[in-house]
């Protein structure tokens, strides 16, 4: 792979590139699903190719190919330079990047059990057994399970001399029970909705989830929701479970801190950000107890945003985003870091595949744990709604006003979890919401959740991001009913 990369870099330089970086990527994936006790999807795929990004005449060009002969790679590199020169026809200034050192390194994400070495029969048997457990519950009308495994090798080389090989193994799994009754759909998922939990681990993740224990519970809850009371409409105290808080962080912290959005580069598609440059180090983003970091380092955990180097060769870092409530940092690239006067990129350029341009993406954007045990937090709460597991999300293109609904809620009265509530939702304004946080559970309740389906960019790229969170409490929140029959 290094020979091909070096050849691409040579051709790019020969054609007039002043900077170039090359990614050869080999992606392998296995997908298993079941539905109502039958095998749904059983598929395996692999993709191998090369993408080259160049600066020529002060502008960017990118081309990719799956023709990995020397001629194919040379043509691709020449095409990237030609595209960069065309870009220069519509530039306002030359691209300048924050400085970065060259690195020669190899890294592999740790895992104990290679999921591709586990027999398919074993994997499928587990899903079918979990599916059967859910179908045993009367009133369940649809059962679904899924497993997904990915192994990604990338070979990065740049014209400043970096040569970095990284291998990541990613596993994911989840189950969902749906119940339709009297025109109403209720569903429960485990361990999370929209595909379950996904992390940078091997098959040990699947074994740790104990699907067979939780499958009957989610099925029973899906059916019980039909007879539960509607979530009340009121302004009051809200406690969010960890996975829903993870998505809240993703939407109302992770996206607005993307510096390309802040600088208007996503204005036509993903949107912009309320976090304009004048807010940095000045905005009171949240309460004093709110601390959020963007941490791609392995010591933060095996998240979907964990790596050793980003896709422009910058080492993984931990960046303060919110420190003691104060807005402290953005997610940046070498180019955007230079544009706002930072000395260095925060290392967040990531690409979905060899045929996509790296762009600023969340790494692991996490709310650091607080001090409360969950039991103490409940005991300290007289009247609140506890919401768990995301069902829908909506947020404006500046990431300032939002509305979420969850699969289930529980009424908290006098420090105790009481009756189940259905169709819960809540809404708010990002900064008001985070400033209303008055309790965060401790590290015993903290999970690094994986969001495998973050879409951004044109052409669209889907990226996995990590969000560490433990349950937390918020005051004076608009709580409502997501669905009511007319």
């Amino acid at each position: 792979m290094w020979d091909l990369s070096a050849h691409a870099l040579d051709i790019a330089k020969l054609r007039g590139a002043t900077y170039a970086d090359v990614r050869v990527m080999h992606l392998r994936q296995r997908d298993l699903t079941t539905k109502n006790g039958q095998v749904g999807t059983l598929a395996q795929s692999e993709s191998l190719g090369l993408g080259i990004r160049v600066l020529a005449n002060g502008a960017w060009g990118f081309a990719s190919t799956d023709r990995l002969s020397r001629d194919g790679v040379a043509a691709c590199a020449a095409q990237a330079v030609a595209i960069a020169k065309a870009s220069a026809l519509a530039k306002r200034s030359d691209v300048v990047m924050a400085p970065e050192d060259a690195y020669v390194d190899s890294w592999q994400s740790p895992f104990r059990k290679d999921p591709f070495e586990i027999p398919l029969e074993t994997q499928l048997a587990l899903l079918l057994a979990a599916d059967a457990e859910m179908r045993r519950v009367k009133g369940v009308t649809l059962t679904e399970t899924d497993m997904q495994f990915r192994k990604i090798d990338s070979w990065f080389a740049s014209s400043i001399g970096s040569r970095i090989h990284q291998r990541k193994v990613i596993s994911g799994c989840g189950v969902v029970a749906t119940s339709f009754e009297n025109g109403e759909i209720q569903k429960r998922s485990y361990p999370n909705s929209f595909g379950g939990q996904h992390v940078l681990q091997g098959y040990e993740l699947i074994e740790s989830l104990d699907l067979l224990k939780h499958a009957p519970r989610v099925a029973e809850e899906a059916v019980a929701l039909h007879t539960a009371a509607q979530c009340p409409q009121k302004t009051g105290t809200l406690i969010l479970g960890g996975s829903q808080l993870g998505l809240q962080i993703h939407e109302s912290v992770g996206h607005p801190i993307e510096l390309d959005r802040v600088l208007g580069q996503e204005a036509n598609f993903a949107g912009t950000s309320f976090l304009t440059l004048d807010q940095l180090n000045k905005l009171r983003y949240g309460a004093d107890i709110v601390n959020v970091v963007a941490d791609a380092r392995l010591e933060h955990g095996p998240g979907l945003g964990t790596f050793a180097y980003d896709d422009e060769g910058v080492p993984a870092q931990c960046t303060d985003i919110i420190k003691e409530g104060q807005f402290r940092g953005y997610l940046s690239s070498r180019e955007t870091a230079h544009l706002i006067g930072l000395q260095r990129s925060s290392g967040t350029m990531r690409t979905e595949s060899w045929n996509r341009l790296p762009m600023i993406r969340m790494t692991n954007v996490s709310l650091l744990p607080g001090t409360w045990s969950f039991d103490d937090l409940l005991a300290d709460t007289n009247d609140a709604i506890l919401m768990e597991t995301n069902r829908s999300w909506s947020i404006d293109d500046r990431r300032y006003q939002f509305q979420f609904s969850t699969e289930i809620a529980w009424e908290i009265k006098g420090g105790k979890k009481t009756r189940m509530l259905k169709n819960p939702s809540y809404s708010g304004i990002t900064t008001e919401f985070w400033n209303s946080c008055d309790a965060i559970c401790n590290s015993e309740h903290w999970t690094l959740w994986g969001t495998p389906n973050c879409g951004k960019g044109q052409p669209m790229q889907t990226m996995g991001t990590g969000h560490g969170a433990s349950p937390a409490r918020f005051q004076n929140i608009h709580i409502g009913t997501a669905f009511a029959k007319s």
Partner: protein, 349 residues
Amino acid sequence: MSPAGKSSSKADAALLPERQIRKILDRALELGKSVGSEETEVHVDEVVDALTRFANNAIHQNVAEHGLTVSIRTVVDGRTARATTNRIDEDSLRSAIQASLSLAHSQPKDPRLLSLPGKQRYRTVNRFVKETAGVTPEDRARAVRRACDLAVKRGQTAAGIFSTGQTQNAIGNSRGLFANYRETHAEFSITMQEESAASWAKANSAKVSDFEPQRLAERASEKAHRATNAHELPPGRYTVVLEPAAVLDLVGFLFYDFSATAVADKRSCLNQRMGKQVFGKNISITDDVYHPLQLGVPFDGEGIPRQRVLLVDRGVPKNLVYARATPKPQRKSPRDTDSHCRTNMAKLL
């Protein structure tokens, strides 16, 4: 727009000729047979795409891709599975077939599994426009430059995309079915911002000269300017006029609900609403991949020709789109399907 071939830079790469696609496909079918697959289905999908992206009145991303994937579904003893690769050498194709067989063998027998369909007859659909395939990076850059210059002149900020591309989707199976579809596509979209106001315009077509980027830029620019003195309305009920693109966004949320599978799974908003007056009487919705303004592959993931389906007739949901394997209580005749491989999102008008 410069005519193809008159720019100094080269157009994007060309799609492989059909005979080469067929050769890859036939080879995969032969290999399938040789390793014991009772039935084999092969997709060969090729993409040549380019996208020029601009923001802050300048190009900031400019990309091109060329890729080809071969996706193989084997059937053995009432079991089926799929393996996909983008490597087309003999060893890689053989590995993909073996992976597919191995996946298939690992599951229980499926008594509902249908045999692959035989040869089909297809309507001719010609949406490959040489003019679009001949667009160069310089063509796109010049069009973007003109739009951005307009924004600068009017004190506005432009962001958007100009993309052009070609795709080829071929399917063949061991029962003699073969279909290949090629199309070109072009899209320009632009957001113009002036102070706190913004406006958007977009067009797409198989034929790049069907729209004029500069006219779209001017329209977005004028709308943004008119919106600079907008004032807030109190919450309430108003008559709202939506542009066609906004209507599509709303209708788009319904796409998957017209799938017979979604209704069978009881997760469609049309559950218990088929045949009832759900929408206004002035609303009719048709799924018609053959409409002259439409893009998309005219056959489904099993090679079944797509049909024109009246989904909503004067406000009443009348029909759904079906796969061959859709459970019988809902099944009428095979229409659109998304079974096993390609998701053919309903094309709605």
